[in-house]
């Protein structure tokens, strides 16, 4: 039985966005890289996501947003995480994130911003190299 520390990742889709193919592909790629991936499905509110982070204690949270509502949703999620005192979790957002929005999201502590066509190895390495604990 391996007692090696496992990387645990939460993959979820906030808001009213049903385009979950990308999130599922990411979840599967991270699983195949040996990580434990929790997939919560679509239509997650910021409160749902923060509650899940509190209970599951993941090392990373991968948000997938293709609806254009990233600027509205991401800061709320980050604020609610802060309220819970959670500051050692990598939070990344991917999907359709226009370049001009990245500085704003970075300012709120988000990373990643990978879009369609990204090599899955890039995303696996990104998670491995940016963990905060």
């Amino acid at each position: 039985m391996s007692e090696k520390r496992k990387i645990k990742v939460l993959v979820c889709k906030p808001g009213l966005d049903g385009h979950d193919r990308g999130a599922k592909v990411i979840a599967r790629a991270l699983r195949d890289a040996g990580m434990e991936v929790i997939y919560t499905g679509i239509h997650q509110t910021p409160d749902d996501i923060v509650n899940t982070v509190v209970q599951e204690d993941p090392d990373a949270v991968m948000l997938s947003i293709l609806s254009g509502s990233h600027n509205a949703l991401c800061p709320v999620i980050m604020d609610k995480l802060k309220e819970q005192g959670i500051d050692d979790v990598l939070v990344a957002v991917g999907g359709i994130i226009p370049d001009e929005d990245k500085p704003f999201l970075e300012k709120h502590g988000l990373m990643g911003f990978y879009g369609p066509g990204t090599d899955l190895n890039t995303i696996v390495d990104f998670v491995k190299n940016n963990l905060k604990r």
Binding site: E3, R5, K6, A27, M35, E36, V37, T52, D57
Partner: protein
């Protein structure tokens, strides 16, 4: 590392402390020992329900509806969902939360997904310790969902007071019902998706199996004691619809009936003894395996024995006996 700060927070009902401690017992068996050592005296209050069944029988949806009923009674519920780890990559996809969409609040429901990390039997190594953490955290009821099982993943029977097995109409004929394993550890059979055709047929299949079983006497005394729980309680059968919540009030009464039966018949004590015995065996197995592996990989003496086995002056069983001596475990 000292975890006393987290533990004192846990005992005050702090959710993040509970979550962090579960991560610790999952990843580090030595830390798990310390954690259990400090919280053990605060455990034993929660009632543990085991939910098992084949993949697709609706375990997660069922648990979601059951939990809704429990929190309406003012109870605090802990849920542990175990999913399989890939034997090839070591990764896992934990998807039980998808089916638990009701917006439970942090105050009364704690859900934790867990990969089994290669352990057979339907649970993870850390499941027992996680039950203890949620117990000390203040859960009244702890629901453990096993890996979507085949027919013999029966470890849940040792951890849970009441075991519910989910079946659905149209999945397997009556031969499935008489196969050994899961069907024998069940306290309450739940025929889920009762709105589908064939639900009544499923119920009558189970009833027939139970009549057959009650006329049969187990002969070995040891076997009898081990299975006392299933010998004296005649399993109940309940039909439910997890999507609409239909019939759950009946099911909850059956769970209470079984709980009362365990207490009044004194079987709860047998159950506890068996549980502690099995748990110690598991811990010992883990510790001894580690000792054996350490010895095999580090001791120069071992290489000498291996050479002797190659030269046929020693056989593998005799070599094993020599190693048992080296470990100081010979009779």
């Amino acid at each position: 590392m000292d975890h006393s700060d987290l533990i004192s927070k846990l005992l005050k009902g702090n959710t993040r402390a509970a979550a962090r401690l579960i991560t610790i017992v999952e990843n580090d068996i030595e830390a798990a020992e310390q954690v259990v050592n400090s919280i053990y005296q605060y455990t034993g209050r929660a009632y543990i329900l085991g939910i098992t069944g084949a993949p697709g029988t609706g375990k997660s949806t069922f648990i979601s509806t059951l939990t809704k009923n429990f929190i309406e009674e003012g109870k605090k519920v802990g849920i542990i969902c175990v999913d399989p780890t890939s034997p090839l990559t070591g990764g896992a996809l934990l998807g039980d939360r998808i089916r638990m969409k009701q917006h439970f609040s942090l105050d009364n429901v704690f859900i934790r997904s867990m990969a089994n990390r290669g352990q057979l039997g339907g649970l993870a190594r850390a499941t027992e310790d996680t039950i203890k953490i949620l117990d000390a955290y203040g859960c009244d009821i702890i629901i453990v969902e096993t890996v979507g099982v085949g027919q013999s993943e029966v470890d849940i029977f040792k951890s849970a007071q009441t075991v519910l097995v989910l079946l659905v109409p149209g999945l397997g004929d009556d031969i499935q019902v008489i196969k050994a394993g899961i069907m024998e550890i069940t306290d309450i059979f739940v025929v889920n998706k009762m709105d589908l055709p064939g639900a009544d047929k499923k119920v009558s299949d189970i009833m027939q199996m139970l009549e057959f079983k009650s006329s049969y006497k187990y002969e070995s005394a040891d076997f009898d004691e081990k299975f006392a729980k299933i010998n004296q309680w005649t399993p109940e059968i309940s039909k439910v619809n997890s999507k609409t919540g239909e019939n759950f009030e009946v099911l909850i009464k059956l769970i209470e009936k079984h709980k009362l039966f365990l207490q009044q018949s004194g079987i709860i004590l047998n159950y506890l003894k068996n549980r502690i015995k099995t748990e110690s065996i598991q811990i010992l197995r883990h510790k001894l395996t580690k000792k054996i592996e350490d010895l095999m990989n580090t001791d120069a003496e071992i290489d000498k024995y291996i050479d002797q086995v190659i030269q046929k002056s020693l056989d593998p069983y005799s070599m094993a006996n020599q190693i048992i001596k080296m470990l100081g475990l010979e009779k």
